[in-house]
Symmetry: C2
Subunit: 349 residues, 2 copies
Amino acid sequence: MTLMIQPVILCGGAGTRLWPESRGTRAKQFLPLAGDTSLFQQTVARTPAGADFLPPLILCGDGHVATVREQMGDSEAELIVEPMPRGTAAAIALAVARADANTLLLVMPSDHVIADVAAFHAAIAKGVHLAQQDWLVTFGISPDRPDTGFGYIASGGPLENADEAWGFVVDRFVEKPPLEEAEAMLAAGGFSWNAGIFLFRAARMRDAMLTHCRAIFEAADEAVAAGMRDGDALYADALAFERAPADSIDYAVMEKDDRTAVVPVAMGWSDLGSWHAVHALAGDKDAGGNAVAGDAFLHDCRGILVRAGGKRVSIVGMEHVAVIVDGDDILVMPLARAQDVRAAAKARE
Amino acid sequence: MTLMIQPVILCGGAGTRLWPESRGTRAKQFLPLAGDTSLFQQTVARTPAGADFLPPLILCGDGHVATVREQMGDSEAELIVEPMPRGTAAAIALAVARADANTLLLVMPSDHVIADVAAFHAAIAKGVHLAQQDWLVTFGISPDRPDTGFGYIASGGPLENADEAWGFVVDRFVEKPPLEEAEAMLAAGGFSWNAGIFLFRAARMRDAMLTHCRAIFEAADEAVAAGMRDGDALYADALAFERAPADSIDYAVMEKDDRTAVVPVAMGWSDLGSWHAVHALAGDKDAGGNAVAGDAFLHDCRGILVRAGGKRVSIVGMEHVAVIVDGDDILVMPLARAQDVRAAAKARE
C-alpha cells in the first residue's frame, strides 16, 4: 500500500449476550475473551501504526474513556467521545467529519476475533484499490454455516484490474434471514456475512451521507466542530450530536448507495456473539473439550466452558454447559441455550 | 411416659457429602438444610426439656463447642467434649459414664430430618417399655425404597404386652447391601433401616460395653473422671480418651448383644445424605420442582436445587442440577451425580 490508512475503531457497543462479564461500562470489547488481551486490544494490534496504518481513531462513550486509555497504554491514539449512543452511522460520521478528505478510513468493530490477520491485510489491500476508485467497500465473511444471526451480502459482478480480482459489486444486502433462506444462500454461493468492517475515502462517505442521511452527518459535523478537546480525546458536543437520528451505517448509507463493493475474505472471523462462540473459539481446550479460565476443578466433564472470575468452580459429571462467574453473579446454562442469556441479564441488570 | 428421658445428641460428625457447605468446623448438622434452623437445632427441639425429656447431653468435638453454644442460645444443655474423634461407641460411652445408672438415654444423630415428630414420640414411648426391660432398643426406619446407602435391621419375634406391640427382637443387622439384596429385603418385608437412634438404660449399656468392648468403655469412663469442667462443658481427658479404640456402636455393641430390640417407625426420616436428598426434602419447591435458598433467577428450569450462599445465581434452561455456593466455592453437578461430590471436596479441601 502506498497510502496510509486511518483505522477507525468503534467501541460504542455494550450488549448483554456475554452477560454477566459484559455489562455496564465493562463491555465485551474490553474483556480478554479470546486470549490474554482484550478484543479491543487485539483490534488495535491488528492494524499497527507504522508503514501502512496511522494511529487509530477510537469512537467510544464517556463511560469507556478510562478503559480505552488504560488498555491503549503508551500507544498513540485519538479518541472521539460520543456524548450518547446514536448508532454506527452517527459514530462513523464523527470520524468522517474529523478526517481529511482524502484519508482512507478503515472502520472496524472492536469486539470481533480475526484469527488470520494476514488474510485480513490482503483483503484490505484489495479494498484500497476499490476505495481509491470511490467505492464504499465492505468486507464480507465467507460463511461456513447457515447462520441466522448475521446479515448477508449478495455479490454482483466482479471488480478487477488486469489479472487481479479486487472484489464484487454489492448486488444487495439481505437482512438476518430465516434458516431456510440462510441454507439456500450457503448452497448457492456468492453470499457473505456482513461483519461491519468498511473501507472508504472520507470525502466519499461524506458525500454519501449528505445524500442519504444528511441530518446525521450535519449533526456529527457540528458536534466535532463544537467539540471540547481533553488531551488525546475530542468530546463531541452533546447538544449538536443528540440531533443525529440513531441509525446503523448499513441502513443509513450502505443499502442506499449505488456504488458499494464487497471484498470477500476467509480470515477466521467470529463476532464472539455468545458464550457458545467463546467456547468454540477457545484455543486451549483440554482433551475433553473443556475451556477453562481461572480456578476450575472438573470431574468427568466434557465440552464445558468455565470462566471462574476469581472464584473456585467445581463441576462434576456435566457436558456442554457454561459456568460464568463475575463478581457476585453466577450464570449456569447449557451452551446450546447461550442465546437465552438475555433473560437472565434482563432480570439481573 | 413416667420416667424422664436423657437425650444424648451426637455432634461429632463432619463429612463431605454436602460439600461445599459442610466442611471443616462448619459441619452439616449446624447448617439450615431443611428450614430456617439447623439440623442440630431441630434435633434439640424434637425432645424439648420438660415433662418427658431432660435437657440434652451434647457430644461434640472441641472445634464445635462455640457453634453448639451459639445454636443452643439460652436453652439448658450439658456438653461433653470429645478430645478427638473415636467413633460413636466411644462417644456414647462418654454419655453412659456420665449418666446415672437408671437413666434412660435416647441417643440421636444431630444431622437427620424427622418430619413426623409425633410418630417419633410414639415410637419412643414404645421403646421406653422395652428399655425398662433391659432391651437395647434401636429405632428402625420403615424403608420406602431399596436404598443401598443404609444398613438394614431384620425383625425377629414381636415384643408385646397384652394388646400393645412394642417392637421386635432384632434378628440380625445387615451391612449396606447390594441393590439386589436391598430389593429382596424391601419385597420380603420385616426389614428396616438402621438410623443410629438408640434407647437404653445407662447401666444396661455400661454392662454391655464391659462385655463387648471393655477397652472403649474404660477409656471413656476414665476420660470423664479425669475431665475438666468449663461452665456447661465437660472436656473429656485426652490422654485417657485416645486409648479408646475407634468403632461404631453397631459393630462394638449392637451386633454382638443378644438382647437388642427394634421399634420400626415411619416418621418422615431422612439423613440428608446428599444434595439429592436435600432437594427431595425441600418443602417449598416451586411449580417446576425447583428448590431455592437465597438469590436465584431461574428461567425455563425444572427440578433444580440452588443454594446461593449470598451470591446471585442465574440459571437458564437446565434440569435436575444442583448449584451450591459457599464462600468462594461454587459447585455445579447433576443431582443424580450427588454422590460424586466427594471428588470435588477431596480436590478442594
